[in-house]
């Protein structure tokens, strides 16, 4: 193992899959010659050629649409959507076509694509470079939603996603591409190389989709979280000295319900954290599931800490962001019930 940041880990996963499987191809805006606006595909076109890694017209509909056709042919496309905020023009091809193709053709045709897309805020990107639309995809049958939180996981999950025969949306928390941001925006962010989970094995390895990761064990409270917020949650629990069990979901669909149930039944308290807007965010589903499955174990109301129900504002982004204060107070409240 070496220490990699998240972009390097993703780049490595892509390179490995391009190498191993001649049917894997990468397409998207600026992913080819330039290597992607976040450099996730840097060097890949040079290494694998223009038929394996190529730039596309600026049409998310076209990018996903041709990927559906390529999947039907037998390729395993890995399209990039430059920012999750820009996925909507391609949404119909993703939710009405890719996600339903296996079902509607009774398995005759499949869409084994992995749509990579940077998501989330905290980079002063304003309302169109900061969104977290993951909940929308979890409502659609037939698509898997995967969100890594560390370089180690990013590589292993991305390889699993690419090998998966179902369409996967792979959201990359761009705020932590370069370091595990903990929500203390006025302090410098540590680089990944200092973090335990930047240890990335060389070569091919997989992390199964649908399996959560216990970030730390605890008895007092279960925290359900994913992406950037994993690190914020961890830092806050650390700072408050709460004996929290932090579960990084890694995959929203399919969900590791067993890990969730076991933990909440143990702790009797559950806090859910995400950066996305609150109403009908994935936190709502988690809250409903916990209530349905762990009801009589609950000592306190399941609570959600989320982004607000507004567009992501440019200048007030740290007021919007579900940071240490919001999380800390929610923890205090749950623990005091």
């Amino acid at each position: 193992t070496r220490r990699l940041n998240m972009i390097e880990a993703i780049n490595e996963a892509l390179a490995i899959m391009l190498e191993r499987d001649p049917d894997v191809i990468i397409l998207g805006e600026d992913v080819g010659y330039f290597g992607g606006v976040f450099r996730a595909t840097a060097g890949l076109q040079e290494k694998f050629g223009k038929t394996r890694v190529f730039d596309t017209p600026i049409s998310e509909c076209g990018i996903i649409g041709v990927a559906v056709g390529m999947g039907a042919y037998g390729l395993r496309p890995v399209p990039e959507i430059q920012f999750a905020d820009y996925i909507y023009p391609g949404l119909d091809q993703l939710v009405s076509e890719a996600a339903r193709l296996r079902y509607r053709s009774a398995g005759e045709f499949i869409a084994p694509m992995t749509v990579r897309s940077p998501f989330g805020g905290g980079i002063f990107g304003g309302q169109t470079h900061s969104q977290s639309p993951e909940a929308l995809f979890t409502h659609v049958s037939g698509i898997k939603t995967v969100i890594p939180s560390t370089p180690h996981d990013a590589k292993g999950l991305l390889i699993s996603a690419i090998e998966d025969n179902d369409p996967v949306i792979f959201f990359e928390p761009k705020r932590i591409y370069n370091g595990p941001f903990t929500g203390f925006y006025d302090k410098p962010v540590e680089p990944w190389k200092k973090h335990r989970d930047s240890q990335v094995p060389e070569g091919y390895y997989k992390i199964p989709l649908g399996k959560a990761r216990t970030v730390r064990e605890g008895e007092a409270l279960t925290v359900l979280v994913y992406g950037t917020m994993v690190h914020v949650a961890e830092a806050v629990c650390e700072a408050r000295g709460v004996d929290a069990e932090i579960i990084d979901l890694r995959t929203l669909v399919p969900l590791d319900i067993e890990a969730i149930e076991t933990s909440v039944k143990k702790t009797g308290r559950c806090l859910i954290i995400h950066e996305a807007t609150r109403t009908s965010g994935f936190g709502a589903e988690l809250s409903a599931l916990v209530t349905e499955r762990c009801f009589y174990h609950l000592e306190a109301p399941v609570d959600r800490v989320t982004g607000f129900d507004t567009p992501y504002p440019h200048s007030l982004e740290w007021a919007y962001f579900p940071g240490p204060v919001r999380i800390g107070e929610a923890i205090d409240k749950i623990m005091s019930e």
Binding site: G268, F295, Y296, H297, E299, A300, E337
Partner: protein, 69 residues
């Protein structure tokens, strides 16, 4: 147990008397065979584990077996 006791309560004018409690407290009470409406709640109207404990030790003195932890 759909049947509602028509006992009027000041806080719930139209229904049976409501007991406020977390599901975990309700479950424990149920396991212990305690009717929550007989437990004296705290000032905020809610029955907590401590209130159950108090109820148990009070009734324990009257011959109930302790449920332990």
């Amino acid at each position: 147990k759909a049947a509602a006791k028509p006992t009027p309560a000041p806080s719930a004018p139209h229904g049976r008397q409501k007991v406020l409690a977390s599901p975990a407290v309700r479950q424990r009470a149920k396991d212990l065979g305690i009717d929550l409406s007989e437990v004296k709640p705290a000032a905020d109207g809610r029955v907590r584990h401590a209130d159950l404990d108090a109820f148990l030790s009070y009734n324990g003195a009257n011959g109930f077996a302790s449920a332990g932890t």
